[in-house]
């Protein structure tokens, strides 16, 4: 009996005996990634599509034009540099497992999975999936996908998320084994975040950056660069009856108002975001629909800990004490964000609620921390990107706040390329960015950004073996309860050391015409258009 199977049975038994409720059961199964295996075992637990969940029977047909914010740049899932590319290609490819809105994991190309031992996971694969080049999906494709991702010659960015994966072994066309470092607890969440399965023949015969070929619900038709991408329903999709739409057109419209205009005039049926200050008003407009949203984008202050003044923990703590999170959420984000000291928002299954700065903003304590650092007054610079409209505003707000504790902050503007240079050469002192924390707050955020030695440790923080150990302890633990406790411990340490400071977590809501159904914001941030349908 495997560890996960034991736990799954244990949770199911507790549920049947009434010792835990349905919510607790789902939560527990999510943490161990066992919901797929449990699905069907519990009466009433059967997973329902989000379309049906909205109380209507999905209808087939129609074309949906979706207006995202940024232009996609690359259709190769190994190089998900930009979220805008993922939004499109995640509808062309499938992953082995998927994360639902509440964080539960459900089957994708894997029918079921189990942990065999502390270094091995077994996945049973579907046998009715076909790539869009008419190649049948098999275990060999799974192996090829992850071998390719790990190829140093390719330099794939997404390899960072699966570094503890040591290899994939093909047992048969419908069964694979994942060999990992001992007790890697982040495997399933990594697969649900970046595990799009590709096909060797497709990769070798077409440029994967330009021509994505997957097993997904929609097949790629055309990409008129910087204008639109067209996808069409894949008739051999392995999920019967899905997708519902005939055609899906993606356009990228950078300006919020322009996007909203297009939705109101009927040019688009789905848009990614409306002007933040108009959300309350638009929610009352019967001609538009705000679909269920979610907070999966933390906004972060990165502090350069390799040089003064932020090499001093007391200065970083002074900033923590001075943080006006509520003001940032209300003034900069017009209430469309929630304050949070950690990568996830209070609504997230991982949220710990640990607050090492209870009562912040507390300017007296901030001054005290500065005094502890031996500093009376300080000049710092904040590197903002004007193309991210909230950043200069956050900078101005912080400028006013920090002035009160004797910190004179200068807000500087850098266009993207300059900003990257400031960041990677560590010329900056303090800057802001957002990070998509999709499913795993440590494996996908704290680990890459704060662990010493990580390529994405922009703060240059490598002063705490204790923090590294806490990150590793979380990453290499499978037991959900231990992981949850480990996360809280890690979060407390991270807040105290403050190599970066979490400000708020902003809400992403997708807007549609009222007759568009099945739309919701998912923690993986994918636009799962296979569930979307139009009631014509």
């Amino acid at each position: 009996m495997t560890l996960q199977k034991d736990q799954t049975s244990d949770f199911l038994l507790k549920f049947r005996q009434g010792r835990i409720n349905r919510r607790q059961l789902l939560h527990s199964l999510t943490l161990i990634g066992a919901l797929g295996a449990a699905n069907g075992l519990v009466p009433g637990l059967g997973l329902i599509s989000s379309a049906r969940a909205q109380g209507k029977t999905p209808k087939r047909g129609g074309t949906l034009t979706a207006a995202t914010i940024d232009k996609p740049v690359n259709m190769d899932p190994a190089f998900a540099e930009l979220y805008s590319s993922m939004q499109v290609y995640q509808n062309v490819f499938n992953k082995l497992v998927y994360a639902q809105r509440d964080g539960t994991l459900v089957p994708g190309l894997a029918k079921s999975w189990r942990q065999v031992d502390d270094k091995t996971w077994e996945f049973e694969l579907v046998d009715n999936a076909w790539f869009h080049n008419d190649e049948k999906f098999t275990g060999a494709d799974v192996k090829y996908t992850f071998d390719r991702l790990a190829d140093p010659k390719l330099g794939a960015a997404n390899h960072v998320f699966v570094q503890p994966l040591e290899g994939v072994e093909v047992v048969s066309d419908t069964k694979v084994l994942f060999h990992t470092k001992p007790n890697w607890g982040g495997l399933l969440l990594a697969l649900a975040a970046i595990g799009e399965i590709v096909n060797k023949k497709a990769i070798e015969t077409h440029d994967p950056k330009l021509m994505p070929i997957g097993t997904g619900p929609f097949k790629f038709v055309e990409w008129v660069k910087d204008d639109h991408i067209t996808l069409e329903r894949w008739d051999k999709y392995f999920k019967p009856g899905q997708p519902y739409l005939d055609k899906l057109i993606f356009r990228a419209i950078a300006d919020d108002t322009q996007r909203l205009n297009g939705l109101q005039t009927g040019e688009y049926g789905w848009i990614e975001q409306v002007p933040l200050h108009r959300v309350a008003e638009l929610k009352k407009n019967p001609e538009l629909k705000a679909n269920p949203g979610g907070q999966f984008f933390p906004d972060i202050f990165l502090l350069n800990t390799t040089k003064p003044p932020f090499d001093n923990v007391a200065v970083r703590q002074a900033l923590q004490w001075a943080m006006p999170r509520k003001a940032i959420a209300n003034v900069v984000w017009h209430g469309q964000a929630v304050p949070s000291l950690e990568p996830v928002s209070p609504s997230n299954v991982w949220y710990s609620g640990v607050d090492a700065y209870s009562g912040a903003p507390d300017l007296a304590k901030a001054r005290e921390a500065l005094q502890k650092a031996g500093i009376e007054s300080l000049d710092i610079s904040f590197a903002s990107q004007p193309q991210v409209p909230t950043q200069p505003l956050v900078g101005q707000l912080m400028q006013q706040q920090l002035r009160q504790i004797g910190i004179n902050m200068q807000v500087e503007s850098f266009e993207s390329a300059r900003w990257f240079e400031e960041l990677t050469t560590r010329r900056y002192q303090m800057t802001g960015t957002y990070w998509s924390v999709t499913l795993d707050p440590v494996g996908h955020c704290l680990g890459p950004l704060s662990r010493s030695g990580s390529a994405w440790n922009f703060s240059g923080f490598n002063q705490s073996p204790e923090l590294d150990a806490a990150i590793d302890s979380f990453n290499f633990t499978v037991d959900p309860e231990v992981r949850k406790k480990s996360y809280a411990t890690l979060m407390k340490l991270h807040e105290e050391l403050a190599p970066m400071i979490f400000q708020v977590n902003f809400d992403r809501t997708y807007w549609t015409h009222p007759n568009v159904y099945g739309v919701e914001t998912l923690p993986s941030l994918e636009l799962r258009m296979e569930d979307v349908w139009i009631d014509a």
Binding site: E81, A157, Q258, E267, A417, F420
Partner: protein, 315 residues
Amino acid sequence: MTSTVRRLLLLLPTLFGVSIVVFLLLRLIPGDPAQVIMGLRATPEGLAAITRDLGLDLPLHEQYVRWLGALFSGDFGRDYRSNVPVTQLLATRLPVTLELTLLSLLLALIVAVPLGVRAAVHPNGIADKAASVLGLIGISIPDFWLGILLVLVFSLTLGLFPSSGFVPFSDGILANLRAFALPALTLATGLSAVLVRVTRSAVTEVLSRDFVRFLKAKGLPPRAIINRHVLRNASVPIITVIGMQFGYLLGGAVIVEQVFDLPGVGSLIVTATMERNYPVVQAGMLVVALLFILVNLGTDLLYAWLNPRLRGGAR
């Protein structure tokens, strides 16, 4: 004819100069293309692989010679990010920019030239006042604001035209023209303002010349004097302005392209510059420079055709 050939021959060294300036200026701007391509999720291995693949690890002169050599064989390079050939990008962008430019100019000409002429012929009349108002408003209103206003009225309120986007000519002439209506009107307003002022002042100046008094004394009808003699003589400054504006619009209609989400050359070059997408900027700038030179050449030839006395100057 000799001057035309001479100027065509000068085209090559001019473009060569442009290529060197653009190539070097781009490299002087801080920012690593590989880092921009990979974004925050860059890894040292990924950056090294991209730098190597793009040839950015080579000495500058070698990069330039390689690029120029490929250019002579018709290879403009590939978009760093998407791997799309730059020729393909330009082939889809140029028609959009050219159509927008031509439609805007056409609209501006239809409105500004008759209005400017009438304003000059009847000073202080209704047309003159209308020309002053158009001139003032057209020059004062920023393109982005007018564009938004037009969207508000004609798209959101009246529902007559789409608020943004491009429809290719192949998808239907009417749909194509509807998509271009508001952006062309936005650009034409500013252009008309300049043109109406230039036309009015040029026609006023010609009307004050002796030959016009002579034609009037000769008993020629006023309409014939204006159409056959005055307009032809006043056309040189008008054509100069049109030529300059045409050249400017080829790469400079960025704001209108952004407001209406039109995939034109201007926004392509601006975005590519921000991304340090060298091949796209270099090729885009060369094409814009080439078109600019050709438009200026065309303008000079028009001068000579309109005014034989200028043919000497053109030589």
